[in-house]
């Protein structure tokens, strides 16, 4: 028994010795980088396809295609999302979200929406010229966000305007117009053509993502009342596509910057 024990100790020591030796030789194997080459490879129709991958995707794709490929409308020109203070896509989405939310709000609450504000980052793609399908709506608005109406006082509308000026992003906006002076101050703030009144309540349609702190639109947290419309932003777009054969964006100026 003792002999066996001793043998075990010797073996353990031997293993330790070997491990140590290996560890040392490992350290010698340390590699040094001598050269790095970096590039980007575009994936185009010149690349072949792996048939197994394509076949694997097919049943998933077929199910979606059956649902979403029906042509609902047509866009005579591409509606893009470029622009400094507003974009064609932004105007389009703010306008249709305003219109659709207002209908629901009027029926449910007997009140009218004054302003619609969404976020630029939430517009995920453009509407290319040509056929418009429900798939287009999924690509513009893939998120499961829904429309919400927040009652804001005039002073929070001013905060909203200042937020625009400091963030410098073309967030979709409808119902509110203003001018940014040369020294970056807001002026001529109008809600539906009427000057902003500090203690008046305005109803602002937006997305639940933004009322939950998205894009740091903190003025929404000061809302005096909130109405969930249970209407997904994507369904607003799909419904609009279904009801309108031709899809175009309004070009009226909402934010003016003095040069």
């Amino acid at each position: 028994m003792t002999k066996l024990k001793n043998y075990a100790v010797v073996l353990k020591l031997f293993v330790l010795f070997l491990t140590f030796t290996i560890a040392l030789s490992c350290a010698e194997k340390k590699y040094t980088v001598t050269r790095i080459e970096g590039k980007e490879i575009g994936i185009t129709n010149k690349n072949a396809e792996v048939a197994d991958i394509e076949n694997f995707i097919k049943p998933y794709r077929d199910k979606i295609d059956a649902d979403l490929n029906l042509v609902l409308a047509n866009a005579p020109v591409t509606i893009d999302k470029t622009g400094e203070w507003q974009t064609p896509m932004g105007n389009f989405l703010a306008d249709i979200t305003f219109e659709k939310s207002d209908k629901v709000f009027q029926i449910r609450e007997k009140k009218a929406i004054d302003i619609c504000l969404l976020n630029h980052g939430g517009i995920r793609t453009i509407i290319p010229k040509g056929d418009v399908t429900a798939r287009t709506a999924y690509e513009i608005m893939p998120f499961e966000n829904s429309a919400i109406v927040v009652a804001l006082k005039g002073e929070q509308i001013l905060e909203l305007v200042n937020y625009f000026i400091s963030e410098k992003k073309p967030h979709p906006l409808r119902g509110l117009t203003f001018t940014i002076s040369k020294d970056n101050q807001p002026k001529n703030i109008m809600v539906n053509g009427m000057p902003l009144v500090n203690d008046k309540i305005y109803y602002v349609a937006t997305s639940d993502y933004l009322t939950n702190g998205g894009d740091n639109m903190n003025f929404f947290k000061k809302g005096v009342e909130k109405f969930d419309l249970d209407y997904k932003l994507r369904n607003i777009i799909i419904d609009y596509f279904k009801e309108n054969k031709t899809i175009t964006a309004n070009k009226d100026i909402r934010i003016t910057k003095e040069q």
Partner: protein
């Protein structure tokens, strides 16, 4: 039990080394190694190519083509590391319909090694991400998201060390700030920690304690913010840390003409790359190693194209 296995394995390895005697000596002959790193970011559930008439990316992208390209490269050099810098989820109906199942299954078929977690990977809630884990054969790294009090606890490592043909590669992950970006209802108790401090720790551990030959930061913090110069981003991280060799990034959907070379806090070169979005590009970084000290000239050459 585990310890005994280890000893037995060690003994076995030693025995094999002793018998052949070749492993060590043959090593000296092959002292140059070549590792090819392939990477994507912000693929956002884009599985099919863009249509040929798309105004921005006509006919670009597509997973079946990406898979073919990766296969070709693997035939050229089997020593490949395949990485994704986050935002795998959200952007096409594939995600709305299947919740990320297809994205993970395809990445597994392409043999991705590692991915980091992007803000949109929380879009079906942290439970939605957790639910798809069985479909992924690859692993997740994130050093600055603390998932301790979430369902993801134990499923995301700060870093991972991979042995690629004798090359020890340490990869750590970084995620973007969650406030104002990810709905709290989705990220739940996930805690975001400052990327700079975390990266310094990670780089030190990987380069010095773990003796990695190459340290990669797989980042979803964004390449650069023109309008927010103080916000942490890949380029700032590169210049304010040391011991990181490559930063492979995502989040800002940045298309670069070529990878960026910057000097780190020690004056050493760091390569920063990002390949746009939606799977229209594949990033390729070839790294050559030498272990014969006599052949190592001072510094390293970096070629970008």
């Amino acid at each position: 039990m585990k310890r005994r296995d280890f000893i037995q394995n060690t003994a076995l390895t030693s025995a094999l080394l002793g018998v052949s005697g070749l492993s060590l000596s043959s090593f000296k002959a092959a002292n140059t190694k070549h590792l090819t790193i392939l990477h994507t970011n912000d693929v956002h559930s884009y599985i099919d190519p863009f249509p040929p008439n798309h105004p921005k990316n006509p006919g670009m992208g597509g997973v079946a083509r990406r898979a073919a390209l990766i296969e070709t490269i693997r035939k050229e050099n089997p020593n490949v590391l395949l990485l994704d810098a986050g935002d795998i989820f959200q952007g096409t109906p594939y995600f709305n319909y299947y919740g990320g199942e297809l994205e993970f299954k395809l990445m597994s078929m392409m043999k991705y090694d590692l991915a980091t977690i992007g803000n949109h990977d929380f879009d079906n809630g942290i439970e939605g991400l957790y639910k798809q884990l069985p479909n992924a054969t690859f692993e997740f790294v994130s050093a600055n998201y603390d998932f301790k009090n979430t369902i993801m606890n134990g499923h995301v490592q700060p870093y991972k060390i991979l042995n690629k043909d004798g090359i020890k590669v340490g990869v750590f992950g970084l995620g973007v700030g969650l406030d104002g970006l990810v709905d709290k209802r989705n990220s739940k108790e996930t805690v975001y920690n400052d990327p700079v401090g975390v990266s310094q720790d990670m780089a030190r551990i990987l380069k010095h304690e773990k003796q990695c030959d190459l340290v990669i930061c797989l980042s979803h913090i964004g390449y650069k913010y023109k309008d927010e110069p103080d916000k942490i981003c890949d380029t700032k991280l590169a210049t304010s840390t040391k011991d990181i060799d490559l930063i492979i990034g995502g989040h800002t959907h940045t298309f670069l003409d070529k990878p960026t070379i910057l000097k780190n806090a020690d004056g050493q070169d760091v390569l920063v790359n990002q390949v746009g979005c939606y799977g229209v590009n594949l990033g390729r970084i070839d790294v050559y190693f030498e272990n014969d000290k006599t052949k190592i000239t001072s510094g390293r050459s970096i070629i970008v194209s």
